[in-house]
Amino acid sequence: MVERRPSLAVLAHLVLALGVAIVAFPIYLTFVASTHTAQEIVQAPMPLLPGPHLVENYTAALTGTGEGAGSNAPVGRMMMVSLVSALVITFGKIAISLLSAFAVVYFRFPLRELCFWAIFVTLMLPVEVRIGPTYKVVSDLGMLNSYAGLTVPLIASATATFLFRQFFLTVPDELVEAARIDGAGPMRFFRDVLLPLSKTSIAALFVIQFIYGWNQYLWPLLVTTSEDMYPVVIGIKRMIAGGDAAVGWNLVMATAILAMLPPAIVVVLMQKWFVKGLVDTEK
């Protein structure tokens, strides 16, 4: 701090507290709504303090025994679908990218540059701009309403490949030489030297990609039509489809809290790697 100005320090805390309050207010309201009955919420203004119906609302949401006019599929099942897809996408991306970055950095072969650019170009083709034809491919392959359809098209990732490539380029050449002198082949070097060195990058990517996978919306919306394959994010949207008054807002809000928990926990617990992941993937 350059100088002491108590008035400025107070202002800083005030502004930050206000910022935190505004950021947190929607979540607080969601939590409050998830602890009341549907009738209490519909009477404007809804109560602003938590009510006594927490346990029964969350049980009703998880088992799908609510009475809203929209979809009433069990949220427990949806959380499973979301979790499995998010983990498959995350680990799939990390595995595929590690391998291809290793190939691009540590081998010389014909068409190496071309392969690299082919991966690079996919950065420019997010799912949103090619939904029609990609949907057709997936449906022709019979992958609608399956984990394969939910995950495989999202697994290819130029960002992760780049991150690992950048990192591998900083690994000292002496390590390869030492490994070669000790008689280690490329895969042995990859497993025993490169993988342990990449731990931090892998952790950082895990946070970013888990959130990415968990929060997918447009793609699952297209490839899932049966209720038992909906990720929870889609499930919430379908619960409010019944029109304003008929919605069981208490259960919708309980579901929203449940849907937010896993990624929020990952971000807060792995905050250090989360920040590193954000900064690294945007380089």
């Binding site: 350059v2 100088e3 320090a9 202002l11 800083a12 502004v15 930050l16 935190v20 950021v23 929607p26 709504a33 519909v42 404007a44 809804m46 291809s100 190939a103 950095v105 540590y106 081998f107 010389r108 190496r112 392969c115 082919a118 420019m124 083709l125 949103e128 701009v129 090619r130 029609g132 990609t134 495989v152 098209p153 697994i155 290819a156 380029l169 050449d173 390869v176 030489e177 490329p186 895969m187 968990w214 929060n215 919306y217 447009l218 994010v233 889609i234 919430i236 949207k237 409010i240 304003d244 008054a245 919708v252 929203a256 937010m260 929020a264 990952v266 971000v267 920040v275 900064v279 945007e282």
Partner: protein, 293 residues
């Protein structure tokens, strides 16, 4: 930068690249080429017949009032999201950089909206502003503002902008805070010795030093508003009322999957690809500059 020491193998690199190449081949290049092809064709909704129409789809597209309106909607939306998102998070980051104690505490409390799914963010904001049950809508009515985003186009736009900005603040905040903390303390001290107060120091030292970060965030936020906000729009307004919040990505989805206009939707996809490529080029130009900076 290249490696000096390499492994030698004829087949191994291909085996390592195979999964990545297979996936991008099947799910990226094939569909993208199909989109290009379809954008030059006209198909009936049942897929019974296909004919070549050249650039007809694009001509129809750019003659279509509603598409041009969608362009305008997207431009307004992304400028509002980028503008408010950057201004608010810069303000918070500047103050978080100032406080001696508790910076970490505020940081933790500000970053987690990043983890909230866009669709969930849309639902939360609809819940707060819903004319029937929303507590904010109720509060607004108490002060004489009859909020109804289901009828009023401007209010619908305001709603999705608020939801989108709310979700993006944490991201911008982290980058601004990192940028501020990397400015050498000696510069700020020198300015203070020369008699510059906090206000003057911000505009003459910190803000110019932050310009690479600001520009980078501007591009990222525009990309975000263009492509990652589909879920917010679909959850909050479904493009309505009328077509007031139908941004380009929403229109591609709607025309292709609800209205079954495949050629038109493919042409829109191609236009979007051109926009992404342009934005990516801008971004990489900037990355090169940052390295020299």
């Amino acid at each position: 930068m290249e490696k000096r020491v390499r492994f030698r193998s004829r087949w191994l690199p291909w085996a390592l690249l195979a999964p990545q190449l297979a996936i991008i081949g099947v799910f990226f290049f094939w569909p993208a080429s199909q989109a290009l092809l379809q954008s030059l064709q006209q198909q009936d909704p049942f897929g019974m017949s296909t004919e070549w129409v050249g650039l007809e789809n694009f001509r129809v597209l750019f003659a279509d009032e509603s598409y041009l309106e969608s362009f305008q909607t997207t431009a307004v939306f992304s400028l509002l999201v980028a503008g408010f998102g950057i201004a608010i998070s810069l303000l918070l980051a500047v103050f978080a950089d100032r406080v001696a104690r508790g910076a970490m505490f505020y940081k933790t409390l500000l970053i987690w909206p990043y983890a909230v799914a866009p669709a969930v963010a849309g639902v939360l904001w609809v819940f707060m502003f819903s004319p029937g049950v929303g507590v904010v809508a109720w509060a607004l009515r108490e002060v004489g503002w009859d909020w109804n985003h289901l009828l009023d186009a401007r209010e619908a736009m305001a709603l999705i902008v608020m939801a989108a900005v709310w979700k993006q603040i944490s991201y911008n905040f982290l980058f601004f805070l990192a940028g501020l903390q990397s400015i050498p303390k000696s510069l700020i001290e020198a300015a203070a010795i020369d008699g510059a107060g906090p206000w003057r120091r911000f505009w003459s030292v910190q803000f110019p030093m932050l310009s690479p970060t600001t520009f980078f965030l501007l591009v990222i936020n525009i990309v975000y508003a263009f492509f990652d906000t589909f879920a917010i729009v679909d959850a909050a307004t479904q493009g309505g009322p009328g077509k007031a919040t139908a941004i380009l990505v929403y229109k591609v989805y709607y025309d292709g999957f609800k209205a079954l206009d495949l050629g038109g939707s493919a042409a829109q996809s191609v236009v979007l690809m051109v926009i992404v490529i342009a934005l990516t080029v801008v971004q990489f130009r900037f990355v090169e500059k940052k390295v020299q900076y």
